[in-house]
C-alpha cells in the first residue's frame, strides 16, 4: 500500500551533484530510464523495459537531480483516468514531477494537487526516449510546489539534442528570472474562453482577474470567434497522430501477442484488440476513421490549426500574456469517454494546439482564491515563469 502514487521506486541512492542536487523528480513510465518498467500505462507495452535513458532523464541526472520513481499514469498519458499525476508532489514524496501534457494533463493534475503546472513551449526539449502519442501536440509538463524548481529543471533540460532532429533549429531562450513590471505588461482575456463557463466558475475567475488588476496589470478583453475550434482541431489532428503512433504496437517485435490467431491479420486484430483500453481504443479508431475515410476533414483541421496559431499570434501583439480559466479534474469513477475527456481539457488544449507555453497557478491555501492559467507567446517561457512568480508573491501578500 506504500505506493499509491508510484509504480516503481528508484532502488539506487541519491548521490547526484550539480545545480539540481537534492531535487527529487518523479517521472512517468512513458519516459525512458534504462532498465525501468516503461509500459506507458498500456497493455501494449506490458513488461517493456527502457533500453536507454531519455535525453530529459540524462540531463536531469546530469544536473544532479534524483529520479526518485515512476508514477501511475493513464494509457499513453492521454487524459487523467487512472493517473496519479501530482500525488507524489502533494504528499511530499517528490519535489517535482514530469507529466506528459498532451491536452493539458500536467496543468489539470497540478490543479488537483494544488501545485504549479507548467507546459513549456513546443520544441524546447528533446523527445528522445519519450513514448509519445501525439507528437505535434505533446510536451513534457513540469509539476512542482514552486516555480523555482520548474525554472531550474527547464534550464537543465531545454536545448538542442543531436539525437532529436525534430527539434526546431532555433536559439534556446534565456530562462533566468526576470523582473516583471506590472505597468509594462498587459494580460489579455479571450471573451469566448469564458463564455462556456458555468456561472459559479465564471465568478471565481472574475475574482482572479480583479486580483491581477489590483496587482497593477492592465487587463484587456479580446475576442477570438474561432475559439471553439481548438477542441475540434485537437480531436481530429490528435487522433490521427495517435493512430499512426500506435501503429507500431503490432505484437511483432515486442508487446504481448494474442494466442490463437489463424493468420497475421487475425494476429493484428486479436493482439491490438487486447493491447489498448476502451478510451484509447475509441481514440485510435477515430483517428483511423479520419485517416482512411475523412482525409479531407484532417486536411481542413490542419489548415484551421495554422489559422488558429496565427490568430493567437495576432492577440500577442495586443497583450504580452493571456489568462485563461481552468476546469478542475473531476473523476466520476465512470469509465472516461472521448467527449467527456475533451470537455474536461477544453480550457488547456489551446497551448497544445499552438505550441505556446502555459502555466497553471494554484490558489494560496486557506484563501478563497481560484487557480487559473497564464500563457505567453512561444519561447516566452522565462518571462511567463517570472510572471507566475510575481503573481504568486502578490497573492501571498508579498510584493
Amino acid at each position: 500500500m506504500m505506493d499509491k502514487a508510484f509504480i516503481y521506486r528508484n532502488p539506487g541512492a541519491d548521490n547526484g551533484a550539480g545545480p539540481l542536487k537534492g531535487l527529487k523528480v518523479a517521472i512517468q513510465p512513458n519516459i525512458s530510464k534504462e532498465g525501468w518498467p516503461t509500459e506507458a500505462g498500456s497493455n501494449a507495452l506490458v513488461n517493456f523495459k527502457a533500453l536507454e535513458d531519455a535525453t530529459i532523464v540524462r540531463r536531469l541526472q546530469g544536473a544532479g537531480a534524483y529520479i526518485c520513481g515512476s508514477t501511475r499514469m493513464s494509457e499513453f498519458g492521454f487524459g487523467l483516468e487512472g493517473s496519479s499525476a501530482g500525488e507524489s508532489v502533494q504528499h511530499n514524496d517528490a519535489d517535482a514531477e514530469l507529466v506528459l501534457d498532451l491536452m493539458g494533463e500536467c496543468r489539470l493534475a497540478a490543479g488537483r494537487a494544488s501545485a504549479c503546472g507548467f507546459k513549456p513551449s513546443y520544441g524546447l526539449i528533446s523527445r528522445l526516449g519519450l513514448v509519445g502519442l501525439i507528437p505535434s501536440m505533446e510536451c513534457y509538463g513540469m509539476l512542482s510546489g514552486n516555480i523555482k524548481n520548474i525554472r531550474d529543471m527547464l534550464k537543465a533540460v531545454a536545448g538542442p539534442d543531436e539525437m532529436d532532429f525534430s527539434l526546431p533549429d532555433e536559439k534556446t531562450p534565456d530562462f533566468s528570472a526576470h523582473k516583471i513590471d506590472p505597468k509594462k505588461n498587459t494580460i489579455g482575456l479571450i471573451t469566448e474562453a469564458q463564455a462556456s463557463l458555468p456561472a459559479g466558475r465564471e465568478k471565481t475567475f472574475r475574482a482572479a482577474v480583479e486580483e491581477l488588476k489590483k496587482a497593477g496589470f492592465t487587463v484587456r478583453e479580446m475576442s477570438m470567434p474561432d475559439f471553439p475550434l481548438f477542441s475540434l482541431v485537437h480531436m481530429i489532428v490528435g487522433s490521427v497522430e495517435a493512430s499512426s503512433c500506435a501503429g507500431r504496437y503490432d505484437s511483432v517485435r515486442y508487446g504481448r501477442r494474442a494466442a490463437g490467431a489463424k493468420n497475421w491479420n487475425d494476429m493484428y486484430l486479436l493482439s491490438r484488440g487486447a493491447a489498448f483500453g476502451l478510451l484509447l481504443k475509441s481514440y485510435l479508431i477515430q483517428g483511423a476513421f479520419f485517416q482512411f475515410d475523412r482525409y479531407e476533414a484532417f486536411e481542413n483541421a490542419c489548415r484551421i490549426r495554422a489559422r488558429l496559431i496565427k490568430e493567437i499570434q495576432h492577440l500577442a501583439s495586443q497583450a504580452e500574456f493571456l489568462a485563461f480559466p481552468m476546469d478542475s479534474y473531476d473523476s466520476t469513477g465512470a469509465p472516461a469517454s472521448l467527449a467527456g475527456t475533451y470537455a474536461q481539457f477544453s480550457s488547456t488544449i489551446i497551448a497544445n494546439i499552438t505550441g505556446q507555453p502555459a502555466l497553471y497557478l494554484p490558489p494560496v491555501s486557506g484563501t478563497a482564491q481560484t487557480g487559473f492559467q497564464l500563457a505567453g507567446p512561444r519561447l516566452s517561457d522565462g518571462r511567463l515563469l517570472a510572471l507566475g512568480e510575481h503573481i504568486l508573491n502578490a497573492r501571498r501578500g508579498g510584493k
Partner: protein, 475 residues
Amino acid sequence: MEFEAVIGLEIHVELNCTTKMFCDCPNRPGDEPNINTCPICLWFPGAIPRFSQEALEKASLLCLGLGAELQPKSAFDQKVYYYPDLPKGFQLSQAHLPLSRGGGIEITDESGKPKMLRIHHIHMEEDVAKLVHEMEGRLPISLVDFNRAGSPLVEIVTQPDFRTPYEAMEFLKALRTQVRSVGSSECSMDNGTMRVDANISIRPRGTDQMNTKVEVKNMNSVRHVGDAIAYEISRQSAAVQAGETVMLHTRLWDPEKKVTLPMRAKFEGPCVPDPAVPVIELSQEWIEKMRTRLPEMPAAKAERLVAQHGLTADEALFLSSDAEVAGYFEELVGQGIAPRTAMHWLTTQLLPAVKERKLELGGSHINPARFAVLLRMLSNNEINANAAREVLAHMFDSDESPETIVSARGFRQVSDTVTLDALIERVLAEQPAAVADLRSGQGKAMGFLIGQVMQASGGKANPKIIRELLSKKLI
C-alpha cells in the same frame, strides 16, 4: 480496331548509402538476418528517426542527373497500412511534397527518332523489411528480416509517355547508365537495387483517352519489363475486343510461363504528414553545390567524345554508357595514344579479355599507363598486332612491363631487311607456284607469300616491310 498502349513506369532505386535512411545501421540488407537493426529501424517506443544527410545528397544527385528540379521544400508522409514487413504501421514516404519534380530522358525510338520521356516526380522513401515464408512441420510461419527495413530508396514516377515496350526498355537502360554515372546506385534489376512496376492501359490508336490501367510487377530484368508490357498490351487488346472491361488491378509477371497473372486487389493506404521528421528545406545555394558534384552526364560526354576525339556516334555512346570505360579511354588518349587505336584496342581486345577472365576493368592490373606502353610499342612498329595480343595475355599474368615481356619473350618485330631478305629468298624457293601466280598478275598470291614469310619468322616479321621487299623482287 487498332490499339495503342499508354505506359508509365514507377521505378524504385535503392541508394548505395552506407547507412539506412533514418538511423546509423549499415545499409547491407544481404547480411545475416536482423543484424543491422536498432531501436530506430525496429521502431521501439521512444526512438526518433534521424534523417540521413547522405541519403539526401545521393537522392538529390540522382534527381539532378535525370534533369529533375529539386524542390525547395519537401516532406515525409506516413503511408498507412498494416503488414508485418512494416514495423510501425506506416511507411515514411514523400507522398505530398516530393524531393523533385520534372526531368526526363531522351531516347531513340524504334523509328530512329529522338523521343523525350518525361519524369513526373521523384520522391524518397524507406524500404520495408523482408518476409520469408517457411513451414515449421505442417505449420506455415512467416519470418521477418529487418535488415532491409529503413534502407534508403527513391521512387521515380514517369509521365505516361511510353507507347511501346521498346521505349520502356530504352528508358530503363538509359536511366541505369545515368544513375550509375552519378554514383547513387548500382541500379541492378538482377539484385533488386532497381525494381520496376509498369502501369499499362490501351486505347484506340489516334485518340487521347486515358483508360483504366493495370499495374504489372515482378519483372527482374529489362527484357522482362519489355516482355511483360508486350504481353499485357495484347492481353488487354484481346479482352477489349471480346467486349470485356479492363478493371483496375495489379498483376504479377510470371517469367517461366511468360504471362501476367492477377494478384491481390490494390490497396492504397492514406498518406498523413509525419510530425516527427522535419520538413526538408533546400537552399538554392545547396542545390548549386550539389550540381557542381554532378559528373559529366552520358549524353553530354558522348557529344564531347565525338567532337574531341573524332569517334563515331555509336562508339561515343558505347563509351559514355560506362563512366569507367570512358575514363580509361580518355586516359589512354592522354598518354598520347591515337584515339582510333585506343578505341579499337580497348573495345576489341582489352574489354573482352577482362570479361573472359571475370575481372573488372578497374580490378585488373592492366591500368591505362601500362596498356599505353603496349599500344605505343605497336604504333612505333616495335611489335606487330599479333605480338601485341600475346603480350597483353602475358600482362594479365605478371606485373612485368610490356617492354620486359617483349624483350624476354622475343616478341620484338623483325624489321631489318637483311634478315627478312634471307627469309624471303627461302620462301620464294619453296613456293614456285605462288611466285608464278603473282608474276602472272594474281594479286592474292601476294597475301599468301606474306603469310609464309610471317610464319617463317615465327610471327615477328614486320608485314609492311615484307610486302615492300616482295614487291620490289617480283613485280
